[in-house]
Amino acid sequence: MSRIDVRKTYKLYIGGQFPRSESGRSYIVNDAKGRLMANAAQASRKDARDAVVAARAAFGGWSGKTAYNRAQVVYRIAEVMEGRREQFEAELRASEGITAAKARTYVDAAIDRLVWYAGWADKLTQVVGNANPVAGPYFNLSTPEPSGVVAVVAPRGALLGLVSVVAPLIVTGNTVVVIASEQNPLTAITLGEVMATSDLPGGVVNVLTGSQAEIAPWLASHMDVNGIDLTGVEDEALATELEVAAADNLKRVRRPEPDTDWLAEPGLDRMTRFQETKTVWHPIGV
C-alpha cells in the first residue's frame, strides 16, 4: 500500500509566528488544473491590524540595525532559499502550471534578486545621500531613512513578484505587511518560513493571505501605516479607493504596476519611494 502523504497547513506569518486567521476562516487554493492544493488562511481586518502592530514593534530594532547587518540578514534569506529551491520549484509548477525550466528561472531570479538588494543596504545612502555645500559655515548632510511601516499588495508572480516588492523595502529598513497574491498564496507562506529561519527578526515581514479587496482597505486607512505599495492591485477602482484612503495620514503611495517585467533588473525606485530624506545642520566653529 502506498504511503499517505502528510499535507501542509498554510497559515499566516505575523510577528515571526504562524497563526491561523483569528476569524477562523480559510479559502480553497486550487492548482493550475483546478484541483485542490490546500486551504489557505483567509486573513481578516483583525489579522491586518495585528500585523501592523507587529511591524511597528519591529521597526525600531530593524531600522536601527547597521546597514551591513541588514545586508547580512537579507543575504541569509537568499542562502536559505537556495537550500530549499526544489520545494519552491515544485510549488510554483503546481500552483502556476509552469514548466520545470520556467520554475527554475523564477526561483533563480528570486534568489538573485535578494542577493542584489542585500548588496544595496550599505550603498544606497552613498548613492542618494548628499553633503550640501550651503552658503555659510555649516556642516550639512542629507541621508535617506525608512518611512516606517509599509503595506504592500503583492503582484501575481507568487514568488519573484513577492520578493521583488518586499526585498527593496526591508533592505532599506522599513517593516512590511504584505498581502500575498490571492490566486497563488502558498509560496508566500513558504517564503515566510524561509524568513523565519533566516535571522530576520519577527515582525519585519508579515504575510497575509486572503482577499485583497477585503484586507487592503483596512491597511490603506490604518493611521499607523506610513506607506502603501499598490503594485499588485489590478482593479483600477479599488486602486483609486485605496489611494484616497491613504491620504488620511498622507501615506507614501506607489501606484499599481500590473505589467512590470519582474525578470528585468530593477532600478533604485522601489527602494527610494519609501525613503525619507533627513537633512542635519550644524554650525562650523571653534
Binding site: 550640501n132 516606517g148 491613504a246 495620514n249 525619507e276 537633512t279
Partner: protein
C-alpha cells in the same frame, strides 16, 4: 526686570521704491489679462490699508493658463537646450538682485513681515534659488533622476514666504524643462505679480510662467485640471490631504510641503544664551508663520527655570511693530483670519490649564498684532502642544532623559523639523538619528539654503524641495 534700557528712534524704510497699481490682472501667456472672474482686495496687515484689487481666476482662466503653459512647453521650453534655459534663470536671478530692495519692501507691505527679514533673508535666498537651479539646467543628466521633464506643473503656495515659496517652486520646475501655472496666496499676491514683470523683463518666452491669483477655488481648479502633469503644494496639512485625494487614480506626480509642530530640544549642557537665541529665532522669526517653527520647546528639567528666565528676558527686548521699520523684530500677523485662529488656540491653551505669558509691548492700534507669547506647564495632551498654531506662540514642556526627549519629540503626526541644543557631539548625532523629522538643526535653527533639501516625514507631506533632491519632483526619473 527692566524691559527697555533705551529706545531706538524709528528707522522706516521708504515705500517710494515700490509702485503698487490700483488693480492687477492675471499673468497668462506673457501678458496681464483681465480674467473672467471677480476681484478681491489685498491689504497691508500692519495698517489694514487696501493695497490693490486683484483678479480672482475662474476655471476658464485656469484652463487658459494651462493651455498657454502646455503650448510653451511643447513648442519652446522642453525643446530648448538646458544651457539656454539656464541663461533665462540666471537673468531672472540677476533682476531679483537688482530689484531686491523693491521686492523686500513690497513683501513687507503685503505680508507684514519685518523689513530686516525680507531684505536680509527672503530676497537673497530667492535670488540664490534661481542661481542654484539655473546651474542644474544643463547638468541634469548628472543628477541621478534623468533629464526628462514632466510637462505642466500646477503650483499652489502659501502666504508666509510669498516670494521665497515661489522661487522654491518655479526655479527647479523651469530648470528641468517644465512650464508652470502658479497661484500665490490670496492675502499675498503682490510680489508674485511683480515677479511676472520680472519674467517680462527677462524676455522669458510667453507661457513658460503663468501666474493666476485667487483663493481656494482657483487652487482646486489647478490641482484638478486634467492637463496638469505635476502638482506642487505648500500649505496646511488639511488642504494637502484634500489634494492627495484629488489626484488619486491619476498619473499626476505630487509633492506636498505641509504643517509641522517641531520640537526644539534643549539639554542641560547646551550653551544657554545661544539656545535662547535659537528658541527665539525658532518661534518668533516671521511672526511664527513658519511651517518648521520650533513651536514646542522641550527643555531638560534641571535647566528649565534658568532657560525660562533668560527666554522671558530676551522676549522682553523683542520690538514688535511697523514691518518697514529696520529695528522691528516681530511684524504683523498676516490676516485678521489668522489672528483669530492664533487667539482662539491661545485661549484654549489657557482653558486647558497652561500658564500664559506675553512679552510686555505696546501693539499698534490698527492692523493685526499678537505679542510674542509663551505657555509653560504644557502637557502633551494640550491642543497647543499638538496643533500647529502658525503664530508667535511657544509651548514649553520638560524632560529628564534623552530617551524621554525623543519620545516626546516624535509624539506627533507631523515630522517636518526638529532642533537639538547640546555641547556633546555624540548626543547630537544620536538625537539626529532618532528624531523622525526631515530637517534637524543642531545648535542652530531655521537655516535654509538652495543646496539643502527640505521636507517632512509623516503628515508633514512628501517630497523634498531644494538641493539635488529637489530636482526629483520635476523629472520623470531615471528608474521610471
Amino acid at each position: 526686570m527692566s524691559t527697555h534700557i533705551f529706545e531706538y528712534a524709528p528707522a522706516p524704510e521708504s515705500r517710494a521704491v515700490v509702485d503698487i497699481k490700483p488693480s492687477y490682472g492675471l499673468f497668462i501667456n506673457g501678458e496681464f489679462v483681465d480674467g473672467h472672474g471677480t476681484s478681491f482686495k489685498t491689504v497691508n496687515p500692519a495698517t489694514e490699508e487696501v493695497l490693490a484689487e486683484v483678479a480672482e481666476a475662474t476655471d476658464a482662466d485656469v484652463d487658459e493658463a494651462v493651455k498657454a503653459a502646455r503650448r510653451a512647453y511643447t513648442r519652446v521650453w522642453s525643446r530648448m537646450s538646458g544651457a539656454e534655459r539656464a541663461k533665462y534663470l540666471y537673468r531672472i536671478a540677476r533682476i531679483i538682485q537688482e530689484r531686491g530692495r523693491e521686492l523686500a519692501v513690497l513683501e513687507s507691505i503685503d505680508n507684514g513681515k519685518p523689513i530686516k527679514e525680507s531684505r536680509d533673508v527672503d530676497i537673497p535666498v530667492v535670488a540664490a534659488h534661481f542661481f542654484y537651479y539655473a546651474g542644474w539646467a544643463d547638468k541634469l543628466e548628472y543628477s541621478g533622476y534623468g533629464s526628462t521633464p514632466l510637462g505642466v506643473a500646477g503650483q499652489v503656495i502659501p502666504w508666509n514666504f510669498p516670494l521665497l515659496m515661489l522661487a522654491w517652486k518655479i526655479a527647479p520646475a523651469l530648470a528641468c524643462g517644465n512650464t508652470v501655472v502658479l497661484k500665490p496666496a490670496e492675502t499675498t499676491p503682490l510680489t508674485a505679480l511683480l515677479f511676472a514683470e520680472i519674467c517680462q523683463q527677462a524676455d522669458l518666452p510667453p507661457g513658460v510662467v503663468n501666474i493666476v491669483t485667487g483663493a481656494g477655488d482657483t487652487g482646486r481648479a489647478i490641482v484638478a485640471h486634467p492637463d496638469v502633469d505635476k502638482v506642487a503644494f505648500t500649505g496646511s496639512t488639511e488642504v494637502g490631504k484634500a489634494i492627495a485625494r484629488a489626484v488619486a487614480g491619476t498619473d499626476k506626480k505630487v509633492t506636498l510641503e505641509l504643517g509641522g509642530k517641531a520640537a526644539n530640544i534643549v539639554f542641560d549642557d547646551a550653551p544657554i544664551d545661544q539656545a535662547v537665541e535659537g528658541i527665539v529665532n525658532g518661534i518668533f522669526f516671521n511672526q511664527g508663520h513658519v511651517c518648521c517653527a520650533g513651536s514646542r520647546l522641550l527643555v531638560q528639567e534641571s535647566v528649565a527655570d534658568e532657560v525660562m528666565a533668560r527666554l522671558k528676558r530676551r522676549m522682553s527686548t523683542l520690538r514688535v511693530g511697523d514691518p518697514l521699520d529696520k529695528n522691528t523684530d516681530v511684524g504683523a500677523i498676516n490676516s485678521a483670519e489668522q489672528l483669530a485662529k492664533i487667539r482662539e488656540l491661545s485661549e484654549i491653551g489657557e482653558a486647558e490649564g497652561a500658564e500664559r505669558w506675553s512679552a510686555p509691548c505696546d501693539l499698534p492700534a490698527n492692523g493685526y498684532w499678537f505679542a510674542p507669547t509663551v505657555f509653560t506647564g504644557v502637557s502633551q495632551a494640550h491642543r497647543i502642544a499638538r496643533e500647529e498654531i502658525f503664530g508667535p506662540v511657544l509651548s514649553v514642556l520638560t524632560f529628564r532623559t534623552p530617551s524621554e526627549a525623543v519620545e516626546k519629540a516624535n509624539n506627533t503626526p507631523f515630522g517636518l523639523s526638529a532642533g537639538v541644543w547640546t555641547d556633546k557631539g555624540s548626543r547630537i548625532l544620536s538625537m539626529a538619528n532618532k528624531l523622525r523629522a526631515g530637517v534637524v538643526w543642531a545648535n542652530t535653527f531655521n537655516k535654509f539654503d538652495p543646496t539643502s533639501p527640505f521636507g517632512g516625514y509623516k503628515e508633514s507631506g512628501y517630497g523634498r524641495e531644494g538641493g539635488r533632491h529637489g530636482l526629483e519632483a520635476y523629472l520623470k526619473g531615471a528608474d521610471a
